[in-house]
């Protein structure tokens, strides 16, 4: 399994849709729900996750032969924690308002299952290049998922997209969408939609 696994390119593509971390693997739900009130926060979060994920994957892959099995997870988390601290500080320096808005969700990247899962499943067994491309694929997949949810929530909830007004003036904002219930409902329904599309495609490919 370790040697004859998918190539780097395949792993990259897989992360986008077939193994999308949010819709397919149900990982990283906390940020998915918490920061998708608007596109800006969502994309910032996606960026931070991508940074941490890629760095952690690469580092894990580099040290994969040194790891004892029962200490593996501990080491992963510590590695991730270090990178998250970096990301947090950088963000606080560069985009202070955004960092305030994201609040505790940036440090919570440490326990984002996407990262630990990729470290465990992929990076600890694969070469650096494969691990990096896998991380990139997963990051983009994660970003896409966040973007889809944030788009729905921001457009319906605030009538804007990246802060720009896209709905007509008369559009009554759906206040619920930017609040916790809206996050749950949107993700729940989008998840159903994703499953449904997946099922339909599978049926179609089965029929052919």
């Amino acid at each position: 399994m370790a040697s004859d696994g998918p190539t780097a390119g395949e792993r990259f593509l897989r992360g986008l849709i077939p193994e999308n971390p949010v819709y397919r693997q149900l990982l990283g739900m906390c940020p998915t729900l918490a920061v998708t009130g608007g596109m800006k926060t969502a994309m910032t979060m996606a960026g931070a996750v991508a940074f941490v994920l890629i760095c952690a994957n690469v580092l894990t892959s580099l040290i994969r032969n040194l790891l004892k099995p029962h200490l593996r997870i501990l080491v992963f988390t510590l590695t991730i924690a270090a990178f998250v601290t970096i990301a947090d500080r950088v963000l606080a320096y560069a985009m202070y308002d955004m960092s305030q808005e994201l609040g505790p969700y940036i440090p919570l990247i440490i326990v984002n299952c996407v990262i630990i899962c990729r470290c465990e499943v992929c990076a600890s067994k694969q070469s650096v290049v494969v691990a990096a491309s896998d991380a990139a694929g997963q990051s983009i997949g994660f970003a896409m998922a966040l973007a889809s949810i944030a788009a729905v929530r921001e457009i319906l909830g605030s009538g804007t997209f990246f802060g720009l007004r896209v709905m007509p003036e008369a559009w009554p904002n759906w206040g619920i969408m930017v609040m916790p219930p809206g996050a749950f409902l949107t993700l729940g329904l989008l998840l159903g939609l994703a499953n449904w599309i997946g099922a339909v495609r599978e049926k179609r490919s089965g029929a052919v």
Partner: protein, 264 residues
């Protein structure tokens, strides 16, 4: 008395009003994963509460004595206050991971039946955001700057325990509903996580009813001075999370009367 009512406020706030799961979205993974059966959910809730308490205890100790600006350690070693808070994330996760592992091994060795019923959830908890979130919340109030009183150990523990209880309440309610849903004709694509999230959405809607209860509670516990209260009122829970009201579009504020009065 003052302190006690402070604790009550923290407790109520953490348990229901700003429920960890339904308001802050932390601990979603176990909330979805382990809410199939009521007894399992209850076990998970207990395990989380237990671990969260231990983690809060340790993280308070570390934050208070080592990490916060002006902590005794730095003063002792360097002779001056130093900010070690950059270490905080690493320390917290380290503390959580090791204490979970320790607890797991201990329970497994000495209470096998207990381990069988709830120990299996323990490894899952390491990556439970709720624990880290509680630590971060505590850090926020312990590592305050000059002028404010840092939280004591008791407040931190109350936050942790009641946060855990809030999590337990949410996950047990969810498990009750999901047991029922097992026998319902839920659309295939929504089964599992989808319907759970939708139910969580409605639950979170219901929990919004608690909005403002903490403030009223505060008023009851220590009645405000007549003048100060009017000003205080406008920083309510709900209005801040609502889209800001702009004067020409429709006002989107629930406490309309208050606002109008304020505007006047």
């Amino acid at each position: 008395m003052e302190h006690l009512s402070e604790l009550i406020l923290v407790a109520v706030g953490a348990a229901v009003i700003n429920n960890f799961v339904l308001h802050y979205f932390v601990g979603i993974c176990p909330f979805i994963g382990v809410s199939r059966r009521v007894d399992m959910a209850f076990g998970m809730g207990c395990a989380v509460t237990f671990v969260i308490t231990i983690a809060a205890l340790l993280s308070w100790v570390f934050t208070f004595y080592i990490l916060r600006p002006g902590a005794p350690l730095a003063v002792m070693v360097l002779g001056a206050g130093a900010d070690l808070s950059i270490l905080s994330y690493i320390v917290y996760i380290f503390v959580i991971a090791s204490s979970v592992q320790l607890v797991e091994m201990y329970v497994r060795k000495f209470f096998p039946p207990l381990y069988k019923s709830f120990g299996v959830f323990l490894p899952l908890i390491t990556t439970n955001c709720a624990i880290l979130f509680a630590c971060l919340e505590i850090m926020k109030y312990v590592a305050v700057g000059k002028g404010a009183e840092p939280w004591g150990l008791d407040t931190s523990l109350v936050l942790a325990i009641f946060g855990g209880i809030g999590f337990t309440i949410a996950i047990v309610i969810m498990a009750g509903i999901r047991e029922e849903l097992d026998h319902c004709d839920v659309p295939k694509s929504l089964r599992g996580a989808g319907i759970t999230l939708i139910v969580a959405g409605i639950l979170s809607l219901a929990f919004m009813g608690f909005g403002g209860v903490d403030r009223s509670l505060k008023d009851i516990l220590h009645p405000p001075a007549p003048v100060a209260a009017a000003v205080d009122d406008d920083n309510g829970e709900i209005p801040t999370t609502m889209p800001a009201a702009s004067p020409d579009s429709k006002p989107a504020d629930l406490t309309l009367n208050t606002d109008r009065r304020a505007a006047r």
